[in-house]
């Protein structure tokens, strides 16, 4: 009773039992599918045997959870793994790099992981990971919070739709290579409004209503304490869909992270059709024909948006500190956070005194390195890019379109750039004029 944070309790075991039972059931279906489609190994044993073995192990795992008491229970996430995971993942640098590496791996290895069996293995791995992790108290606290449940679901949904896209794209790319008709042409998807569309929509509506009602009954609305200006919650988090923006607040001033960047994201998304000159890939999935557009979009969406939401939800804890997913949210954890402005680097680096005056001239002088750098970034980089690596685009787009395009790209790039600078040099602001609330 006194250990108010037990990793395993009878109700947790029962819950996990149901979870593994579900995993068992879906794998049972998969095994049947595998038996029908996957064929045999060279020695004549059906490939489905492996799945059958795995499925039965999961079934036994489920029964083990249902029947064994807490005392002496064996199956849980090894603490060595937890420590390893926390050590690496309670670090935003590693997390961010991993998300970018993951993105590029995903693109490079798309042919491999879109295979159904590979995807199914990956799904199973993630489910087993979830199941084992749920045996940890702190993980449960953060994942099981009623308002975090949809975010866990979102992870799987994003993965699923990304998988759909890549599967179709890989398929179509192969068709184009082989000169076969596109999937979309071959499988005409046009249907009748009635009954095919409207009827299914109606059914979806009914099912969705039922699901929402059941959800509402099972997970009660999570109310927190009444709002107070003198006592804010710790951590004080935005709604989940804004957690990416809130993460930007760590690196940027509110006016940039909260006003300018969101406006540019919206404006940029609206500008995409006018910038896009690539006529290919309309109405069908393809990666090869739109590799730049897709990569850029996925970079903006996955590491810079979804990953930041996940980070904000699961990894940011009290005092906005980083916490591993198996780590206790200790309000007493303190992280040193001393950041320095570029101007201080510059003047100190030159061995000169920082201009201290409060007149506009003094301030501009003090911040001149940052201001020049920023102006240079937005004014000089686009022409250089246009003449060098993006020459192809410059030629196709013309000056105006290219400038808009390159500026959007540069705006998107400032987030990772600022993150890198912060991590590498503890850089606070490139231009820091707190006198006028103007910090970049």
């Amino acid at each position: 009773m006194l250990n108010s944070h037990p990793d395993l309790t009878p109700s947790v075991l029962i819950g996990l039992g149901w979870f593994y039972l579900l995993v068992f059931l879906v794998n049972l279906v998969w095994t049947v599918r595998s038996y029908k489609l996957d064929g045999e190994f060279r020695n004549g044993i059906p490939k489905a045997t492996l799945w059958a073995t795995y499925t039965s192990i999961v079934m036994m795992l489920s029964f083990y959870h249902f029947t064994y008491p807490v005392e002496g229970f064996l199956v849980s996430m090894p603490s060595a793994f937890k420590d390893f995971f926390d050590a690496w993942f309670s670090n935003p640098v590693f997390y961010f790099f991993l998300s970018i590496v993951g993105l590029f791996f995903m693109i490079q290895a798309r042919e491999w992981w879109t295979k159904p069996t590979v995807a199914w293995v990956l799904l199973n791995l993630s489910l087993i990971f979830m199941g084992l992790s749920l045996s940890d108290y702190d993980f449960r606290q953060i994942v099981g919070k009623p308002d975090n449940v949809p975010i866990v679901a979102m992870l799987f949904i994003v993965a699923f739709f990304t998988w759909i896209y890549f599967t179709r794209a890989v398929d179509n790319d192969r068709r184009i290579e082989q000169g076969r008709p596109l999937f979309e042409q071959e499988n005409n998807e046009k249907v009748l409004v009635w009954p095919d569309l409207v009827y299914t929509e109606l059914i979806c509506m009914v099912v969705l209503s039922a699901v929402l009602i059941f959800w509402g009954i099972a997970l009660k609305a999570p109310l927190e304490e009444p709002g107070s200006s003198v006592k804010t919650p710790n951590p004080s988090k935005a709604p989940w869909y804004f957690l990416g923006l809130q993460e930007m607040l760590v690196y940027f001033d509110p006016w940039l992270a909260g006003v300018v960047l969101p406006s540019i994201i919206l404006g940029g998304l609206m500008a995409v059709p006018y910038i896009d000159f690539n006529k290919l890939g309309n109405g069908y999935y393809s990666f090869k024909q739109r590799s730049f557009a897709v990569t850029t979009y996925l970079f903006g969406f996955l590491p810079l948006w979804v990953a930041l939401i996940v980070l904000g939800t699961f990894l940011r804890g009290p005092n906005w500190n980083f916490f591993g997913i198996y780590e206790y949210w200790d309000v007493h954890k303190v992280e040193a956070a001393n950041n320095v402005n570029l101007s201080e680097f510059f003047w100190n680096g030159l061995g000169l005194a920082i201009p201290k005056g409060s007149s506009v001239g003094d301030i501009l002088l003090r911040e001149s390195p940052g201001i020049l750098l920023t102006l240079g970034y937005f004014a000089i980089l686009p022409p250089i890019l246009g003449l060098t690596i993006l020459r192809k685009y410059f030629v196709r787009m013309g000056v105006l379109r290219f400038l808009v395009f390159s500026n959007l790209i540069l705006w998107m790039a400032i987030l990772p750039i600022k993150m890198l600078l912060r991590w590498a040099f503890a850089l606070k602001y490139i231009v820091g004029i707190p006198e006028y609330f103007f910090n970049i």
Partner: protein, 1292 residues
């Protein structure tokens, strides 16, 4: 591929899917409704209806007893009989009935007709009124008036007809009524008989309808959706718009829905107690609950219906709701959402199983666990006292009151201010120190927005300490006060380093030695000289006499001393050890001028001391030559207890002293090297006058280095001492020169009960408790182990399984609760551990902080239950008062009572005086109780006055006990009476013959009606030991009782009455007795009143304001008028009227003067026997027998008229132990036959009036003497035979 007309999906499949999803949706809606119907409150309400019906049926079965049914049947038969008879008459007198019938019809018809005619008339009148408005031509105007007139005439004519018809009908009706009278009376009787039963039956019928339609309707009203339309299952809501609550940033009205589940919370039974007493019935069956008369939550009634919930209580639920007292979420309608809080982790565990309970830290005001239920009282009851002492409701919140008293005792407010006001608005109990200087007091008095504190510093003054004790004792004492005096309330500041590592502890010890030496250096250095008193030169003190005086003169009302054992007073310190510490005279080690001065005139040493001046002036011994100086004798007695104590001075390690000085200097503004430089050179870089702060101690006047190493050492010590005093805030409790304006060092506590828990420094307390936390002699290695054991025991059945005693369980589960609170970082747990081991929060924190940053709170000698009481109080300090009308604002009388109670405690009045009489509860054999006989000597008028002043109280409590006495079964009735012990059972006697004797002080009635037996005050009650049930100690007067027992042995030869006469009197009904202005004067400057006492009322250092409140207090308590009283007998009109009446009654001659006669009577040979009177001094004729009464010249200003009269009628009715006899017995008319014709009643009145006009008569008539024609018939009244041998009055 082109688009086709084929369907994408198989229609049949789609239909099936659609059907399935619709069923799913339906299922979800059903589940939702089911959940809604399963709301806890609905379940409770359903059960409660069942319970209600059961109770009412039980009531019905009691009402409809066999006897009742018999009665009913008999009556029914009678009614039938009468009906038959009536039917007969109807036939025989058919004409009469027919006439009545037709008359009635006529009246009805005429009434209708009149109504029509009146309407026509009204219409015509309106037409006429319109004509006036529209100024119609004269002819139309006239026509309309005529029309009206005609209609009015018609109406009048009809009315005349109607009146005539009615009159005729009335006559017939009377005739008919005469015939039907019997029948009508019987029907009315039947209705009356059945009324109560019908009422109850109707109530049952409502809940459990017997007819199908009603029960169907009731079932329908419970269905989903329909139940939204005024169903009998509904949320019960109390709305308190003025009793707002703060949610985050918003002030919102309070909605309490608690009664949705707690439906019977305000239901009282016929006798006013709870209708559904709380309890744990053995089954879940409502019928059994009713049978056992025990009701589980939430069906039970509030346990204290006199105080709470009911409409007649001071806190009706409709006005106050529930959460203002209990906290919790009033709007919540489920167990969880209401934020119930378990009383300990074991209950939490049970609740978890039963209600799915889990703590919710998001709600800011979770319900108070029952252990803190009283906390919230002080939200509105800012003066707290009324919660502990209350004539109407008793101690309604004893725990929070205990916490309040403990805080007063230990003076927590010295460091932790508790403001009772915020910008002039009362926000809670005000506990602050009184202004420490004249200037401060004047400034606050002049500022209307400020209220001065009223608490006195709890420690003794250290202003002149050099004359009192030595440096080594100061150091020895300060280090561990309890080592010298185990009962001290001074907390321990030093040697609390148990939690530190060995090296650190050693280091700390060295630092503390320097600090202790520093403190004594500062105290003695700053000590101011004082003129001490000394006994007369050559006075030889007598130790034995000193001991006697010590015990008799009142010292023991506050102090204990092992040489005079037997009392338990702890208002002042236990001074058995005082000889060890007091500085003695250098020339004579058996005396101490300081002690002499302190005893004789305490305010000389400390102006604000609570030690009173006991008037220990020198006096002459009975032989008239030897002078006795009681203060000197007492001092000699105290010092004779042993040699002065020898205490080694603490050894100060020079290096560590330097380290400490360096540490403080570095904290000020010096670098390490500069600090070291100052220390090694002995030179502070500034002149003393230029330095601000404690560094003054290091600086020299001229800025030159201190050359003498000893002097520099002393300076360093003083510096460290000053730093230490500032750090520990010694001045919070002690008056110290130079620290008059220093501010308290602790956290202010006025809103601590709402302090944000994230601001509490829990540090490593969990780790500490995991490994330590229990005293060395505990059987547990750590608090964690202790709590785990307690929880396991509770889990395994607790007291029921015999694993705990009840006391143990309360204590251990309390620890478990607080431990759990610490785990959750709660305030309660923080406070608990802070008081248990204040420095434990420094566990493994000292390594990373400076020595001077360590925690400073000292350890108080508190027990765990005391800590809980203090926590209850402090958690109630929320500085969140409700709207003004909810804050308890006492009326003038209550205000004086409350403030007076505070002063009773402040000056320990209750040390000497009984203020509430003891209560004796015994099992009375009503046959054995004898009513007090009214003798021939007693005056009826006196009795009437007595019953007015001491109205009879019902002694029987209603409880009974069945016993067998002498083989006879008897029922004994428990009775409670008030009075003093008159005799104690003799332990050598056979147990069955042991008896207690009590003298009644209050009038007690045993029973009611004809069987009532009344015992008057002054009668003796003998209770066999076996029948004693309970003796409740009096409030106050422990010293008086002790002294009485003592004097009985040493002085009065076992006579208890005489011993009481020599001791501090009980202040029972003092308000009826004395005049308030006199009492006010007396409190400020007590004069000697009684000659029988061995001690005098001392003089306290009381302000005039306080004296006023205390004087008012007694009158307020008894409901007597205050602050002024009319002295009626000095009124000219009264005197004239009385004179006239006496003349008329033939008791006074036509030309006699009432006052003159009265004065003569007073100066007659009766009163002067015992009292000094009219210029004649009391003369002792037989020192062994004669008792001198108080001087009568003070009576006029001192006593109230009614009381005095009753006193003259019969003194023992007021004070059973008095020696004053009945001087004018009713049956003795021959005593002064020439005075008022010998009428004793008139003589009493005359004596009273003479006394109350004393000054005037002395002025006008002067000393007078009077001798009756025959000698007075006897010294004492025959009616007062029990007291006759005491000859004369001592009590006035």
């Amino acid at each position: 591929m082109p688009a086709t007309d084929n369907f994408r999906w198989n229609q049949k499949t789609l239909n099936v899917v659609f059907a399935a999803s619709s069923v799913l949706l339906l299922a979800s809606v059903i589940v939702m409704m089911k959940q809604d119907q399963a709301d806890e409150w609905k379940v409770y309400q359903r059960t409660n209806f069942k319970l209600d019906a059961t109770v009412r049926k039980a009531d019905l079965s009691i009402i409809e007893s066999a006897e009742f049914k018999q009665q009913q049947a008999a009556l029914e038969a009678q009614v039938e009989e009468a009906a038959r008879a009536l039917e007969e008459r109807r036939k025989t007198d058919a004409d009469l009935f027919a006439e009545q019938e037709s008359l009635q019809r006529k009246v009805d018809a005429l009434e209708i007709e009149l109504k029509f005619k009146n309407s026509d008339r009204d219409e015509a009148r309106a037409q006429y009124d319109l004509a006036v408005r529209d100024a119609l031509p004269a002819d139309q105007f006239q026509a309309r008036f005529d029309a009206y007139r005609a209609k009015q005439d018609l109406s009048d004519a009809t009315r005349v007809d109607l009146d005539a018809a009615k009159a005729a009908l009335a006559i017939k009706n009377n005739d008919v009524k005469a015939i039907t009278a019997d029948y009508d009376a019987l029907v009315a009787e039947r209705e009356k008989l059945n009324f109560e039963a019908e009422r109850v039956r109707a109530a049952v019928e409502k809940i459990e309808p017997s007819n199908l339609v009603s029960s169907w309707k009731r079932a329908m009203m419970e269905l989903p959706v329909i139940d939204g339309f005024n169903s009998h299952l509904r949320i019960v809501q109390d709305w308190m718009p003025r009793l707002s609550q703060t949610l985050g940033m918003a002030e919102i009205a309070r909605f309490d829905r608690c009664r949705s589940c707690h439906q019977n919370i305000d239901r009282t039974s016929g006798t006013g107690g709870p209708a559904f007493p709380a309890g744990h019935p053995t089954t879940a069956n409502v019928e059994d609950w009713v049978k056992e008369d025990k009701f589980p939550q939430p069906y039970s009634t509030h346990p204290n219906t006199a105080l709470f919930c009911t409409a007649s209580s001071p806190h009706p639920v409709a006005k106050f709701g529930c959460t203002i007292c209990h906290d919790g979420q009033g709007s919540g309608t489920s167990f969880g959402n209401a934020e119930h809080t378990p009383n300990d982790p074991h209950i939490a565990h049970e609740w978890h199983g039963e209600y799915g309970f889990h703590p919710n830290h998001f709600w800011e005001y979770p319900m108070q666990p029952s252990r803190f239920a009283e906390s919230t009282c002080i939200k509105c009851h800012h003066s707290v006292t009324e919660l502990g002492v209350n004539p109407e409701f008793g101690a309604s919140a004893p725990k929070v009151f205990k916490g309040y008293q403990l805080i007063q005792k230990y003076g927590c407010y010295g460091c932790h201010e508790m403001y009772g006001f915020d910008a002039g608005v009362a926000i809670g109990p005000d506990m602050r120190l009184e202004p420490q200087t004249e200037e401060e007091a004047t400034r606050i008095a002049a500022d209307p927005t400020q209220v001065a504190g009223k608490m006195r510093k709890v420690g003794p003054s250290l202003r002149h300490i050099a004359s009192k004790t030595t440096a080594s004792w100061i150091e020895y004492w300060t280090e561990i006060p309890q080592r010298f005096r185990p009962s001290t309330k001074m907390p321990q500041f030093f040697a609390l380093a148990d939690h530190l590592g060995k090296d650190d502890a050693q280091h700390t010890k060295q630092f503390e030695a320097a600090e202790l030496a520093g403190i004594s250096a500062v105290l003695l250095g700053a000590s101011q000289p004082i003129d001490l008193l000394a006994p007369k030169d050559g006075y030889v003190a007598d130790v034995e006499r000193g001991k006697k005086l010590f015990s008799e003169r009142g010292c023991m009302a506050c102090h204990q001393h092992t040489a005079v054992p037997g009392n338990t007073a702890d208002f002042g310190p236990n001074i058995s050890d005082i000889h060890l510490k007091i500085l003695r005279n250098s020339d004579d080690a058996s005396s101490s001028d300081w002690l002499y001065t302190w005893i004789r005139e305490p305010e000389r040493y400390h102006k604000r001391t609570r030690m009173p001046n006991l008037y220990l002036d020198a006096y002459l011994d009975v032989d008239g030559t030897t002078e006795i100086d009681p203060a000197a004798d007492i001092a000699a007695f105290l010092l004779s207890q042993g040699e002065p104590g020898v205490y080694p001075a603490v050894e100060v390690n020079d290096e560590e002293l330097d380290n400490l000085v360096s540490l403080y200097l570095e904290k000020t503004r010096f670098s390490k090297s500069a600090a070291r430089g100052i220390i090694s050179s002995g030179s502070f870089p500034q002149k003393k006058a230029d330095v601000v702060g404690d560094e003054q101690a290091l600086a020299s006047e001229d800025g030159v280095a201190v050359a003498d190493p000893a002097a520099w050492h002393q300076k360093k010590l003083e510096y460290v001492g000053r730093k230490t005093i500032a750090r520990y805030g010694c001045y919070a409790c002690h008056d110290m020169p130079g620290y008059e304006l220093s501010r308290p060092i602790g956290v202010a506590l006025q809103d601590w009960g709402r302090k944000d828990t994230s601001k509490l420094g829990f540090e490593h307390i969990e780790e500490f408790l995991h490994h330590h936390g229990e005293p060395a002699d505990s059987k547990f290695a750590s608090t964690t182990e202790r709590v785990l054991t307690a929880n396991q025991k509770a889990e395994a059945g607790g007291t029921e399984a015999g694993l705990f005693t009840e006391e143990e369980e309360a204590q251990e589960m309390s620890a478990s609760f607080f431990y759990d609170s610490i785990q959750r970082h709660g305030r309660a747990g923080f406070a608990w551990q802070k008081l248990r081991a204040p420095r434990s929060y420094d566990y493994q924190k000292t390594e990373t902080k400076g020595y001077d940053e360590r925690l400073r709170m000292p350890k108080f000698p508190l027990k765990e239950d005391e800590i809980e009481a203090i926590a209850t109080f402090v958690l109630g300090l929320v500085a969140d008062p409700p709207a003004e009308e909810y804050v308890y604002t006492p009326d003038e009388r209550a205000k004086n009572r409350i403030e007076g109670e505070f002063l009773l405690a402040k000056y320990n009045c209750t040390g000497c005086h009984i203020v509430d009489l003891p209560a004796i509860t015994f099992a009375a054999d009503l046959e054995q109780i004898t009513a007090t006989e009214i003798s021939a000597a007693d005056h009826e008028n006196g009795l009437e006055l007595l019953l007015k002043m001491r109205p009879p109280q019902q002694a029987l409590t209603g409880e009974t006990r069945k016993v067998v006495i002498d083989d006879e079964k008897k029922t004994l009735h428990f009775a409670t009476v008030h009075g003093l012990i008159a005799s104690r059972p003799d332990p050598e006697e056979d147990p069955e013959f042991r008896e207690h004797g009590f003298d009644l002080w209050a009038t007690a009635d045993f029973g009611t009606g004809e069987d009532m037996k009344r015992m008057l005050p002054g009668s003796r009650l003998i209770v066999p030991d076996a029948q004693m049930v309970k003796y409740t100690e009096p409030r106050g007067g422990a010293f008086a009782e002790w002294l009485v027992e003592n004097l009985m042995e040493s002085k009065t030869g076992g006579n208890r009455s005489l011993a009481w006469q020599a001791s501090p009197p009980p202040l029972y009904q003092e308000g009826f007795k004395v005049q308030t202005p006199w009492l006010y004067q007396f409190l400020l400057e007590p004069t000697k009143i009684r000659y029988t006492t061995v001690l005098r009322m001392p003089r306290f250092n009381m302000s005039v304001e306080e004296a006023k409140i205390l004087a008012n207090y007694f009158a307020a308590l008894d409901g007597a008028p205050f602050p002024y009283q009319e002295n009626a007998p000095s009124n000219v009109d009264y005197l004239a009227t009385t004179e006239g009446e006496l003349v008329h009654a033939g008791l006074l001659g036509e030309d006699g003067s009432y006052l003159k006669e009265s004065w003569k009577l007073l100066n007659g040979p009766l009163c002067v026997k015992c009292h000094s009177l009219g210029g004649r001094k009391f003369k002792v004729s037989d020192p062994a027998k004669d008792i001198q009464g108080p001087n009568l010249n003070v009576v006029q200003n001192r006593l109230r008229a009614d009381w005095l009269k009753l006193w003259l009628y019969k003194p023992t009715w007021i004070t059973p132990y008095t020696s004053m006899p009945v001087n004018y017995p009713k049956n003795n008319t021959t005593q002064f036959p020439d005075m008022f014709n010998g009428d004793p009643d008139a003589q009493i009145n005359a004596t009273r009036d003479a006394l109350l006009n004393y000054t005037r008569l002395m002025e006008d008539l002067g000393p007078t003497s009077y001798a009756p024609p025959t000698a007075p018939s006897g010294e004492a009244a025959p009616a007062d035979s029990a007291k006759s041998d005491n000859a004369a009055g001592a009590e006035e």
